[in-house]
Symmetry: C2
Subunit: 320 residues, 2 copies
């Protein structure tokens, strides 16, 4: 099963956060490991089909829990900033995926090394997002707490759907993956690389040449595009909780899309068909990926990913 | 500065937990990053001296904090088991080291890729340690809490130096590093690899061939020996908070050791000169490393590591 990788089609799989921790679940380790196991069973099917995989994943629910645990302990332990919490979530999810994928491959008699790499993603410190933080993270606060945090920590706070106040952080565009060279080396060596978890830990490049973590979150699908293009993947496969992307989603004239060109995709994007922070970044990532030379980008559910790769499910976005 | 690595002496540096978080500190991210920066400045000196490095590190204080944060939030969030907390600490410390070492190398005009790899270390499920848990971890509990945890979770608890009750977990011997192949590939590719953090996440190999995380801790110096031997390092450099190892440590006739043979080292070890969980595993790791073909093992402080590599400080343990 460890055949030459020269002929294999290279696929970067981007796993949505819900592949690991579903919204209605409590988030026990057992639940998360079980979900990861299911995801890995699907991934092993792709490997059996002959694809050469690399993997990235979301980290929203996990970082949320880590932030809340920090908040709950702040009277006795200094809370860690967002970049460090993100790195913790990479270690945690990377470990679960790495272990589970190895176990599922073993069952299928496949022997490919699998590794997760702590990843830093460079963002531009002049990115407009830093003037307009939009991404709610962490626990809910009361109005007085919110006011105090604004003053004490300089956080931006918003009122979130009647449930209280939450911190919002910038979501700048990813520019480069710091560990690009390492990731390419590993991918070429035939390993399955798990990287850029949660979009990567956001860092800025300072004028003195140093890099530094920042309090921001990066969209994991936009980083997935960079990761995919870096390793020369032919396919960017984004697995989420819907089977296809749609026009007029959840409206009377909803129309599911099977196959569209990047030109159409950009048109629909501009018309506002895709929700920001959800489907819009996926479509953006797809367009960028194809324009950077990728063959096609696919948006599908975890369960239909395999058929989608054969053009029988999901939404495929390609040049023509 | 990116010369051929063929001629360079390969050194595995094992950083003690105190290189990252000192006991008297609060443990803020700033403090930890500052300590990591200092450690990395010392490491860059070794790189400038022409050594090819790989790195491992302890994680005791960090895992302690993560466990305490979990305990503090258990009414609203399910606590994560020890293996997952360990993986989180690898992500966190790996990130800090990776970023800081890159920055310090940049200042010195050195361009070597640096990467941290989530690492699983296999232990034997029949290891005697599983019948005799000795390693205290996590927060202190009251007597009634301790009794409840014994019953509810099956934890082993001990009374810890009059400060309360603590959970004790087994500290089995490390057997193999799961990511050995990956680590070797990266090391050969000229990267600085950070791996086996906190000794690696302990996993057992089940009869069905699967691996599974276990609630245990692995001594980081014993794993460092395996890591060092795997990559064919000539030197295992263990940096800690004392400058040398000693006979009759902190007793009237304390005698510091500059250079000893593995035979002498084993003799002193058997005489009980070295504290379990502290200097004893370092000396054990040193003996094993040399017996597996390593040139020498050195125990020194962070500050004297450079001179120790030249035989002018620390304690060197070698064949003859």
């Amino acid at each position: 099963m460890r055949g030459s990788c020269l002929m294999k089609k290279k696929v970067l799989v981007a796993l949505g956060g819900n592949a690991i921790l579903r919204h209605k679940e409590k988030g026990t380790a057992e639940e998360q490991l079980e979900n990861v196991e299911t995801a890995c069973q699907h991934l092993v099917e792709l490997i059996r089909d002959g694809y050469k995989l690399a993997i990235t994943h979301g980290n929203g629910p996990q970082v949320g829990d880590i932030l809340l645990k920090n908040e709950r302990s702040k009277d006795i332990l200094p809370p860690m900033p967002l970049d460090i919490c993100g790195a913790q979530s990479q270690g945690m999810i990377g470990y679960m995926l790495q272990q589970s994928l190895r176990n599922e491959m073993k069952k299928a008699n496949i022997d490919i090394p699998v590794v997760s790499v702590t990843t830093q993603t460079v963002v531009d410190q002049n990115d407009q997002a830093f003037h307009n933080p939009t991404k709610p993270i962490g626990p809910f606060y009361t109005a007085p707490e919110s006011d105090r945090l604004k003053k004490e920590k300089g956080w931006s706070m918003i009122e979130d759907s009647g449930r209280g106040y939450r911190r919002v952080v910038p979501s700048p565009e990813p520019k480069t993956i710091m560990e690009k060279g390492i990731i390419k080396t590993l991918f070429r060596s035939n390993a399955i690389v798990i990287a850029a978890g949660g979009g990567g830990v956001p860092v800025i490049l300072k004028e003195n040449g140093s890099i530094k973590g920042v309090d921001a979150v990066i969209d994991k699908d936009l980083s997935a595009q960079i990761f995919a293009s870096d390793i020369g993947a032919q396919v960017l496969l984004m697995l989420t909780d819907v089977e296809k992307i749609s026009l007029n989603y959840r409206k009377p004239r909803q129309m599911d899309l099977n196959k569209i060109t990047t030109k159409k995709a950009r048109h629909y994007l501009q018309e506002g068909h895709f929700a920001p922070g959800s489907m819009a970044p996926k479509v953006k990532a797809a367009i960028k990926f194809v324009e950077a030379g990728g063959e096609k980008a696919i948006i599908a559910s975890l369960e239909t990913g395999r058929r989608a790769l054969k053009g029988r499910a999901g939404t495929t976005i390609s040049q023509a």
